[in-house]
Symmetry: D4
Subunit: 220 residues, 8 copies
């Protein structure tokens, strides 16, 4: 992608050998590398042929070469998800954002049918600079979160559900029609896209701050 | 329909003359009569030719011959709606239920993007025996209400919205995929159907209670 | 969920180990437990590691700890289904309702193409307090039942069919557009949701009756 | 079209002048002529410029030159429809079949939500040689009729309905997925197509009978 | 189904054991039996446990007990299909019609992209009393056949195709929108339904002819 | 667009004033100009304020400044359409191609339901270098034409039809799924796009021929 | 909405009187007010009854009470759109962002079919802190912009187009499936939502910078 | 197909034995033969039984008997694709065109998110006589290419993507709605169709050139 950002491989439909080949080619350029949609079996084969990779099993991702990042210097990205089946997508988002140098806080299993869990987090929620809200089925969580917070919400519909869910269509349409302002949507199951976007939104503030940090000691 | 229940006319696409003719024919049998989807202009013409009808302008309904009903003897039906554009459908539901002899309580404009309004009603919400929850756009309100209460929730999607709303499809799919148990769904904009169903659910308890109310003073 | 109601696990996409872990965690709280979408093989593995569970093979459900319920004290829930392929969904509804303490009566294989079977049940049908009507293909059964009875009908479309059925879409749309009042709809194949809703509708009356038949002044 | 059959004009989107021109051109060949989708105003203008046409207002059709047909010599086509809003489509079918020389019997307003009306016709229904069954909303009527009779059923979905009806899609899908054998489907609102097809199915028998009626007295 | 017609089993999703059980139960009543959607492996298992069944491998059907039928006494049903992948559906239609006592003539591989094949059949096509036209992909064949012949055409869309075919939707919509009158449509891949309907349309004429064939020599 | 090609204005949703302004701005550069989707009333207003424009009423197009083109030097583009309602789209294609300097031959009203008309043109059809085939309803014509000819076929679905036509979707899907090779598709009602593409395909040959025609007598 | 942000009214489907009433009620609280989807005629009526409002005719918006904002202190929001028909949506976004205190730069008419226009802006594009990219038809512009820039891109599909555009569905799906990371999507025609989101993303940086430029040790 | 063109077999859903049988039958007529959708395993089995076939593994195609073609004599067909997952479809197109005697130039991995790669090819792109542009996901590449070149563009959507891609629907709709003139579309994943069409467009010029190439040295 661009200076300082990782190279990304979409693993779906690629063999372990193909992914390994791409990684080795990218490695030559010294890039940080991130591969998505890699199941455990494929991961093992790739790691056997490319040393130094880390496997994030819930996120189904492989990462390579994360250089130390000063995580103190940015706002926090909060990743919320509705149910336990949404966790893989939420983790894809969280690991992506972390790998791009951001502090990430996870709140999983805070679906709208048990609102008290979400409401008990109200104060903590106000601390983030950007939100990633992951939900399947009816996809109502981003609307509710969007009503509780004042910063940007990135909504990620998942394909979790059945019947009239139509593989995530219900959640997608729900999120696009949210009546809470400040919410935008990425593709169904696109945790990577949400993590990446949250990172560059969060990055924004950093850039501003940088010109300033020369004469202050802000820990932001 | 059946003994004690009103005869119903679906006014959409019928002329004032046609509706008036049907009403007069029904009147002969002494039925209570209810006509839906009647705009103000059509209502005026019908009322001019059939004396004794009442027009409910927000609900766009005409009613005739409501006999006195002992409203004390049943649970309360609560009708909630998300936004002001959903009011006509919510009113169609409320007037139908009232016309069938039920006590109805309205909570309009309690959409999920301003959750505090809904939450401030929490205690009052626990008092109903059945809920009608009307929402357009993303249709998230029934999920949230379903999570807060323990009695049956009838969800009514409305065609309010634009773009990826596809005339109520987004709200409909959202409601069908709710993760809150105890929720079922009627057709888009079908306030009448929701009011009718709420009435026969509420009726259920009455029947039970009636045989009992002879030796207690339960105000339920 | 709530006091007196079972904890519910959606088994689809969870491994036997994951389901068993969740059950053991819930068990600690002494809850009744119900798990849906559990095939025979998975069920065997779970039962091997959690003693005391009962497997309902047609319903593909596991239940644990059902306390004795006085089934006399409530109305009857009738579960009807159109064809033999709809039985698993109908059983999911029936077992859920039974597990929540309701008397359930099953009428399977009463599809509209052989109307005489359904009509021969006419008198018996009048005895229920709520109906669950399960159908795939064109999903016409709830409309017909809705026309024959006066109590609430919960319609459950199934994904049974092929071609222009689009995995249950045809049945779903048919049921949403029913011209019989008193019918509402849950998600395609959502037997659990229908059983749960029927239980709380039926509960309505029970609560009234029960607290009263003891000759008290409960304000419930 | 073919020998003995009428020429047909689809009036939708054509001006009165255009329709009149086409009619006059066809008239030159001495054909029987039938025009569909002609509203009252347009009809008046056409009749003013082409003498001898008959307007069928409910069917929204114009016909010209119907030669005497020996209606005795064929089976009866029965046209059923569910609700009063379906009548225009049912009439389009009925007038088409009559204009092609068939005896037609109408049973309007026999929808499935009031099954008794349909059932009371059972004996009379057995007398037809082919059925045209017109329904909007959930489109369940052809399934029910198909289960009651043994001759071919032509199902005509109408665009009557709202919300999840999607302009007739719900009825169309329902009819295509019917579990009653012996049913086939034409396009939404295509009364003409159904009437035409019923005529050539009925014609089938006629052809047989005709060659025969010279030396038998078959009343079929 | 009805007097003289076969009992029919839809084999999809049923085990060999389930199908065999149903067959044995039906056999008790002495019915002719027909089972569809039976693959070769399942067929072998069923035949091993129910003696006397015949397997039609291309049609994927099992039949039992076909009584001798006097095939001379009816019109011919012609079954046309577009491509070699449509043959299983076409055979399902053809075997069904034959099993119900009809003479059937097959014209396979007469798709519209090689029109000359179809046109070379023109004279022979005029001899049928009803047509079953099976096509996938764009489903244009029934329109073309409908334009060439004067008897009823039953169009059967198949799920053959890929991409924007959407599993037969393209062919289905094409057939429903045909501009050739005299065409109606059954569900995608519903060869059985088409065969059954063709049989009862053809039956129509038979009934007429039969009473007559005693004193004429009609060759129809 | 590019050197030698006209500037194009899409008139839909623009006022006469807006179109006239755009035309005058373009005129400054000396371009040939073509405006589509201009109804008669709007055309009159534009022509009143921009002198020299020609209105093509059936095509609903305005053109300005067509320089003389040597039509001899190219192949012929044939434009076929199925029914009279498709003519406006077919004319949009034809006028566009002519305005870009091509010889165009029209064959309107050659739909597949009356195949003989199309077949009688067989020899003449072989003379074109590219075909534009316009059809609504089931959109079968391009498949049939594609099977009869050996040069490129540009298929144009129209929104002509009703019901399950879904505003041209049926025709579009049919054309995309054609089993005739050599066919590609443009957007519903996009006569302009088809005319433009046909022109640049035809242009291809011209370029070749031109460099050559100086020393040969090729009649192409 | 929240402290410092404007109150927003969605004008679609509300009468001038209703909008004016809402505005006056809001005015009582001293809020800045913004109303969308107000056509010229309605605007005039509202302005006649509520003094001090400003009408933005291309954006179809009314605003009231914008307090002076120090625009120097934030990044720039760039609003790009593909064609002239997309301008109203783009203006809705731009005016919203400006009204919320942001500097906005517009690049209209930079669609992908004339790529040179967009490419000539390359350097200028690098200066924004967030992008709003508005496009109808195939909606390709956000993908291309996303590939050229490194900051967040908010994609707004419009309903501009016809045929297979299906009222913006084509553009919406295109944007959701973008292969450029850093892009998220709002509802079709939702210029307001995009402007609002861009403002709170841009706000992010401002807040940081402001609190810092005062030489403090804010822990934000 | 036609003189000089190959016979084509669609391999999907056919067994190796069936394909081999068809090939041997065709071979008898001395045709060039091309089979698509043949995976490696099936290919091996076919090649074992039909000698002389060549397997193109990326294109998943088998070809037989390509006679020497004078590739000098035609324009060049350029095949572009967006991502590495689109290569199989692009190769199907390229091999088809080559097998039909055309010079083909491949530019793979030139997606719009990395526009510089495509732009660096600008000059080379101007040299083709026809383009095949293959893309999945949002399918934006044909619009961009269409804006850069002046010859016909054949757009091929692929099913590459996930979520709101709906198996290629997003790319298909995007391409149909392209605002670049000169673009037409074939079915999702239909590389063969695109290659065939490109060949007959390119053929156009050839025919002209051939008669000439005997006395000139045109390198076109
Ligand atoms: N899970 C994901 N969802 C969406 N896009 C992704 C995902 N993972 C990788 N990508 C994108 O896919 C591109 C790489 O695709 P490829 O060349 O096929 O490996 C990267 O540039 C990413 O932008
Ligand atoms: N078959 C089912 N259909 C719909 N919802 C279900 C089903 N089974 C369980 N649930 C719901 O799913 C929730 C549990 O989901 P989970 O936490 O993923 O196990 C429960 O609270 C139930 O409301
Ligand atoms: N209501 C109708 N629905 C469907 N097809 C019709 C209808 N009326 C006429 N047609 C067909 O349309 C053809 C005439 O179309 P046109 O040439 O446009 O008038 C006739 O041959 C009929 O087959
Ligand atoms: N990959 C492909 N996509 C679309 N059409 C194809 C493809 N391969 C072959 N065909 C067409 O399918 C026809 C052969 O189909 P079949 O008779 O089933 O082998 C040929 O005439 C080709 O036009
Ligand atoms: Mg918010
Ligand atoms: Mg609840
Ligand atoms: Mg009822
Ligand atoms: Mg029948
Ligand atoms: Mg015909
Ligand atoms: Mg061809
Ligand atoms: Mg970018
Ligand atoms: Mg171009």
């Amino acid at each position: 992608l661009r200076r300082g950002y990782p190279e990304v491989i979409y693993g779906e439909g690629k063999t372990a050998g193909q992914v390994a080949d791409i990684i080795r080619a990218m490695e030559a350029y010294g890039s940080n590398i991130l591969a998505t949609r890699i199941d455990a079996e494929k991961a093992e084969m790739i790691m056997a042929s490319v040393p130094g990779m880390v496997y994030h099993s819930e996120a189904r991702m492989l990462t390579l070469g994360k250089e130390p990042v000063n995580r103190q210097s940015r706002g926090v990205i909060q990743v919320l998800c509705a149910g336990s089946s949404d966790v893989p997508v939420a983790e894809e988002a969280a690991v992506t954002a972390e790998f791009m140098g951001n502090r990430v806080k996870r709140f999983f299993d805070v679906g709208v049918a048990g609102l008290h869990r979400l409401l008990s987090l109200w104060e903590e929620l106000q601390e983030a600079s950007v939100y990633i809200v992951v939900a399947g089925m009816e996809g109502a969580l981003p609307s509710v979160v969007g009503g509780l917070v004042e910063r940007p919400v990135i909504a990620v519909p998942t394909s979790v559900g059945y019947g009239a869910n139509f593989n995530g269509l219900a959640a997608l349409l729900g999120m696009l029609n949210t009546c809470a302002p400040g919410v935008s949507v990425v593709n169904i199951d696109n945790g990577f896209g949400a993590g990446y976007l949250a990172a560059i939104i969060n990055q924004n503030s950093v850039v501003e701050t940088v010109s300033v940090s020369q004469n202050t000691t802000s820990d932001q």
